[in-house]
């Protein structure tokens, strides 16, 4: 029957099968490629990949730094600051836009401008803030803040007006209605919005790092791609995917913890 849930262990077995399938397919491709060219690095063997991982986690013979640590630190800092500012900004502006029509009218034209892809505006950001951390923060904020804000605003518009009216009849002020009713009501939507915007935030950051950085995951991927060192590039990509999955998982757990009735609703 369609649209029916399956048991947990069935779900786990199917997930493991899908991963195994990818691994098997990759092994087959790699073997075939190495039969044609034994020195190939575009589809490295498992042994080559292990060697690549070893190279990024051990100190570099020239600089003495571990590439992985340097890149993770650089990208992580940029992502954390960019996301933090974007989330706080989106919550404040989104709540105000959803609750106060004047604020909504003010921000609509501004957000129309933000529909330009941030990568296209990179040159402008470059002129405005140079290539320090502000550039990456601006890229992330420009890319995800408008959509997060409009998501929060739309979620607020869907709250039945009776809830707001009732809060006034219970002695609440405007601020209390926003904090106790509106914010709590849309909190799951805010977390969902952060979940969906994690991907775009990473895309904009990696793109910016590829274009104008001398450290970070994007920089390393671009540099090693030019040298066709896929034994280094693939582990970085797997790490990015694992990071996205982990953040997604923790955000889901956070949503379940803070809003246990959300799924039931």
């Amino acid at each position: 029957m369609i649209c029916q849930p399956i048991k947990y262990y069935q779900r786990a077995i199917i997930a493991v099968c899908s991963i195994l399938l990818i691994v098997l397919f990759y092994t087959y491709l790699s073997r075939r490629q190495h039969q044609i060219n034994p020195d190939d690095t575009t589809i490295p063997t498992w042994a080559q990949l292990a060697k690549g991982v070893q190279q990024v986690v051990t100190p570099n013979y020239r600089s003495g730094e571990r590439w992985l640590i340097v890149d993770l630190k650089a990208t992580g800092t940029r992502l954390a600051i960019g996301l933090g500012i974007s989330i706080i900004g989106a919550i404040i502006i989104g709540l105000l836009m959803g609750c106060i029509a004047h604020v909504e009218s003010f921000f609509i034209p501004i957000f129309c401008l933000c529909s330009i892809p941030p990568t296209a505006v990179l040159a402008v950001f470059f002129v405005l803030v140079d290539t320090d951390i502000k550039l990456y923060v601006l890229m992330i904020a420009f890319g995800i803040l408008p959509s997060m804000t409009t998501n929060i605003c739309s979620a607020i518009k869907e709250i039945p007006a009776e809830f707001i009216y009732k809060s006034y009849t219970l002695g609440g002020s405007h601020m209390e209605a926003i904090w106790n009713i509106v914010f709590r009501y849309v909190l799951p939507n805010i977390i969902n919005s952060v979940k969906t915007q994690m991907g775009p935030a990473l895309i904009y950051l990696i793109a910016a790092e590829m274009l104008c950085s001398n450290n970070g995951i994007g920089f390393r991927v671009r540099l090693e791609s030019h040298k066709t060192r896929m034994d280094i590039v693939y582990p970085y990509l797997i790490m990015l995917a694992s990071f996205s999955l982990t953040v997604d998982y923790f955000l889901k757990k956070l949503r379940d913890l803070l809003c246990p009735r959300y799924i039931k609703k």
């Binding site: 219970l170 002695g171 709590r184």
Partner: protein, 294 residues
């Protein structure tokens, strides 16, 4: 104490206000309410009846203050102080048709919400040393009220875990804990099955009378005549099918009050006069059906 707690004076309401002069009433098909005049005494239970779409809920929203009337006044008299209702306030409580209980609050927290919003501010709640004991007191008060409406077993249940009848009683307790001067009930039995309706109808008067101050007046909006006569001290009929042609209007100017009479009270100690009940029901039906449109 004032003899009249709520006074509705010449209230008119229409949707298309851009075409209408506010000083002279333009007779327009968009009129919803026309010349509504009503006085409500402290402690009185008024049943507001009328056909679907006649503007009962619009009148209720006007009384709540969320949608003030386009013309006319609604005056609230509390302790020798008269104020015009232009915005919602804690003196006028409301129970909506769908009960509007927040999905993330248990019954106990839903009922305590009013105490939290009314008696404290956000900054006061920041001081946890003062706020936490007060919060505990609010929750105890809320649980006591829930037990009075026979929901002591449901204090920790969320709205999606409760039946329609339980939700109705939680919403009622939520409004009653504020001790409002006026309590508005918008089709409180609308979403319930017949058996639950009948049970709650019997208990509603008791719940209201026993859990509010004597001067709390109640307006119940319903389209069920039996319910209106059974629950209310007075039945007020609102209808757009009144004799508007005799007044020279080209089109119906909206609903007005066509019936306003006391109803036989079906309290536990009263003699249940079913003949009077049936006679009144017929009388209301005739009034609501109207003369010219009938």
């Amino acid at each position: 104490m004032n003899e009249i707690v709520l006074q509705i004076e010449c209230v008119n309401h229409w949707f298309n206000h851009s075409k209408t002069d506010r000083t002279k009433y333009k007779i327009d098909a968009n009129y919803i309410l026309y010349d509504i005049n009503l006085q409500i005494k402290p402690g009185e239970i008024i049943s507001l009846v009328g056909p679907s779409g006649c503007g009962k809920s619009t009148l209720l929203r006007a009384i709540t203050g969320t949608h003030p009337p386009k013309s006319g006044r609604i005056i609230l008299n509390i302790e020798d102080r008269s104020t015009q209702v232009t915005r919602p306030s804690r003196d006028i409580g409301i129970v909506y048709q769908q009960y509007s209980l927040l999905y993330f609050l248990t019954a106990q927290k839903s009922v305590a919400l009013g105490l939290k919003l009314d008696k404290t501010t956000i900054s006061q709640r920041m001081n946890l040393w003062k706020w936490l004991p007060l919060r505990k007191k609010h929750l105890i008060e809320s649980a006591e009220l829930l037990s009075k409406v026979k929901l002591e077993h449901a204090v920790n249940l969320y709205p999606d875990e409760m039946s329609g009848g339980m939700r109705q009683r939680v919403a009622l307790a939520q409004a009653l804990i504020m001790k409002p001067k006026i309590l508005l009930l918008d089709e409180p039995f609308g979403a319930l099955d017949e058996a639950t309706r009948s049970e709650l109808r019997t208990n509603l008067r008791k719940d209201i009378k026993s859990n509010t101050q004597k001067e709390c007046s109640v307006i119940i909006v319903t389209h069920e005549l039996d319910e209106a006569i059974y629950v209310g001290d007075r039945v007020v009929g609102l209808s757009q099918h009144w004799d508007w042609r005799s007044k020279g209007f080209k089109s119906c100017p909206g609903a007005t009050i066509v019936y306003n009479k006391p109803s036989p009270v079906f309290g536990p100690n009263n003699i249940q006069d079913f003949e009077a009940f049936m006679n009144q029901k017929k009388e209301i039906q005739v009034a609501l059906k109207g003369v010219s449109n009938g």
